[in-house]
Amino acid sequence: MTEAKTFDAYLKGERPPNTHTDSGIELDASYGPGRAPLEERPGEYPFTRGIHAEMYRNRLWTRRQQSGYGTPKESNDRLIFLLKQGMTGLNVDYDVPTKLAIDPDHPLAEGDIGTVGTSIATAEDVAELYDGIPLDKVSSTLICQPPASAFIVATYVRLAQARGVPLEKLIGTIMNCGFTQLVGPNYQANTTFYPIEFTYRVGLDVMEWCASQMPKWNLVNINAYNVRETGVNAVQEAAFAMMVAAQHIEGLLARGIDIDAFAPRMAFFTASGLDFFEEVAKLRAMRRIWARMLKETYGAENERSCWFRTAIQTAALPLTAQQPLNNIVRAGVQTLAAVLGGAQSIHTTSYDEAFALPTEASHTLSIRTQQVIAYETGVTKTVDPLGGSYFVEELTDRLERDILALMDEMRARGGYLQLFKERYIEDAIREARFEHAEAVESGAHPIVGVNCFADEDQAPPEMDFFAVDRAMMDGRIATVKAYRAARDGAAVEAALSGVREAAAGEDNVMDSVFAAVDAKCTLGEVGQAFREGIGHALPV
C-alpha cells in the first residue's frame, strides 16, 4: 500500500471489518438493562457464574501445559523441568502411533515416533515417564483415546500398585473420548484403525472400570478443543461436545450405572478463541446447559454431577507463522478470556505453535503468561467479574439459545453417534473450513501479519525451534524389538488370545488388558489383538 493511501485510510478512520461475533451473532451498538438481572451467585445452580463461590480466591486454576516428546526418559526430564517452573499439574501427550495403538516398529509409524508426544509401548515405558513424580500428589492428565486408553490406564494403575499408591488416591484424568480426542471428530481419522462403535464401547469399558476403582479419577474428558480446532465455531464446539457427553452418559446409564456414580468424574477440555466476549459467554452458557441437562434430563441429584468443569487450551488456529511474536499477545488475550470464563486449568499455547512443539523457553513463557495474569492483574480477586454486564449476560443467553437449538436438532436426528456415522459432523467441519479459508483469502476475517499489516519481506523468523532427532526414533524401534525378544512368548500369546476374546465378546475388556500388561504385551500387540477379535483389518 502506498503511503498516500495509508494516510487516506487513517484520515477516514479505521474500524472493525464487521460487527458480528466469530460465530456470526450480530451485535448491537450497545446493550442496556432490557434483560432481567441474573439473581445467581457463583457456586449456585445452574452455575452460570462459576462452579465455586470463591473460585480463584480459594484456589487458582491449574497451570497445566501439555508436554511430551521423544523417549519416555526425555519426556520425564521435561515434566520435571516444567514442575520446577511452576507448572502445577501434568498433561502428558503421547505420539500418534501410541494413540493409535501401534508400536514404533509398525511401518506406518516410522516418521512419527516421539514427534508430537512421547512414545509409549510398554508398562516399563510408563514407569520411566513418571519416574520421581508422586502419583498421589501431582494430578496427571493422560491424553489418549480408546481403545489405547485401556492400555494406558492399565499401565498407570500397575505403576501405582507397584509403588504402593492406593488407587483411591490417584488424581488425574484419562481423556478417553473416542469421538473427539484424536484430531477432533473427523470421519476418516476415527474410523480407519477401529470401527467407531468399538472405540465407543472400549471408552465406556474404561469409564466403567475407573468409576468403580478410582473415585478421584476423571474417567472421560470431552475434547471440545479438538472439535473447535477443526475450524467450527463456538456454538458448534459447545453443541457437539454436549452431544458427545450425552452419548457417553447414555452408554453408561444403559449399563445400569447410576448417574451420580460417574457424572462428577466427567470433564471437558474447551478452546479459548480470540473473540474475547464470545469465549467468556460460551463458558458461562456451557456451565448452565450442563447443569440443567444433568439435573433435568438425566436426574442427577449430586450437585457435583452438575458442575461443568473444564480445562482450557488457548486456540492454536488463530496463531500465525508470520510475525510469530504476535502470538504471545494473542495467547495472552485468550488466556485472560479463559480466566474470566472460569476455567479449572489452562494451557497457554506457545508462540512457536505454527512451526513446531514448544521449546523450553517458549513453554516457560506460556507459564509466565498465566502467572502474570494470576498474580499481577488482580482479575482473580473477585469471582465472575464480567457477570452482570448487560452485554455479557445477553450474549450468554444468546449462546445458550443457539447451542441448545443445535443440540435439539442433533438429538432429533438420532444423536451424536448416528450423526457421526452419517458424516453430518464431517460435513459441518468441511463447510466451516472452506468458509474460514474464503474469509481469510478475501480479508473479511483479518489476521494481522497475514492478510493485513503483513511484512514486506516476509523473511522466516530467527527463532530456535524444537526438533527431534532420527537416532531417537531408531532407538525406540530397537528398544521395542529387544523387549519383545526377551519375554515369555507363551504367556504373551495366551494373554493376547484373552484380549481377542474380550474384544469379540461383550464383557468389559479391562481385565484382559491388565492380563496383557502383566504378560508384558506391548500396546501395539494389544491394539492388534483388539482388531483381530472384532475382525477389523488395517487398510495400511
Binding site: M1, K5, T6, A9, E14, P17, V96, P97, L100, I102, P107, L108, A109, E110, G111, D112, T115, V116, L182, V183, N186, Q188, A189, T192, T230, G231, T320, A321, Q322, A354, F355, A356, R430, R433, F434, A437, E441, G443, P446, I447, V450, N451, C452, F453, A454, D455, E456, D457, Q458, P460, P461, F465, A467, V468, R470, M473, P539, V540
Partner: protein, 147 residues
Amino acid sequence: MAKIMIAKVGTDAHDMGITVIERWLSEAGHEVVNLGLYNSPSRIAEEAAREKPDVVGLSFLGGEPVYLSGRVLEELGAAGLGDTKLVAGGVLTPEMVEKLSDMGLAATFTPGTARETILEALAAIVAGERRNVPTEKPKANTGAPGD
C-alpha cells in the same frame, strides 16, 4: 491444467490444510487425487505409479516432514518415478524448508500462504519453469484489513 496427487503421510491426521488445498486446486481446474490420511511412503509411490500425477503434494502437521518426504522421494525413485515433482505444505520450520529444498522438493508452503501463491507456484512447476522454492515473494497486504 495438471493432475495433482495430495496425501497425508504416516499417522498424522490433521487434515484442515489438505481439505482446503483439495478444494482450491479443484476450483482452479486441476484434476486432484486426494489419498487422504494414513499413507505409507510406499503406498504413495504405488498410487503415483497408477495415477501418473504431474505433481505429488504432501501435507504435514507433526510427524517428521524431512524424513518422510525423503522416504517418499526414495519410494518414488524405486518405482521409476524419480521425475515426479514433489511439494510439501504445512507446519514446517525454516530449517525444514531449507532441507526440503536441498532434497529437491519443487516447493514448500507454510501456514497462511495465500491461495494465489500456491496456484502460481504449482503452475510454474507444471510448466517446468522451476524446481525449487519460490524466490519471488508475492505482494503482501501491509495495510489495514480490506486494503
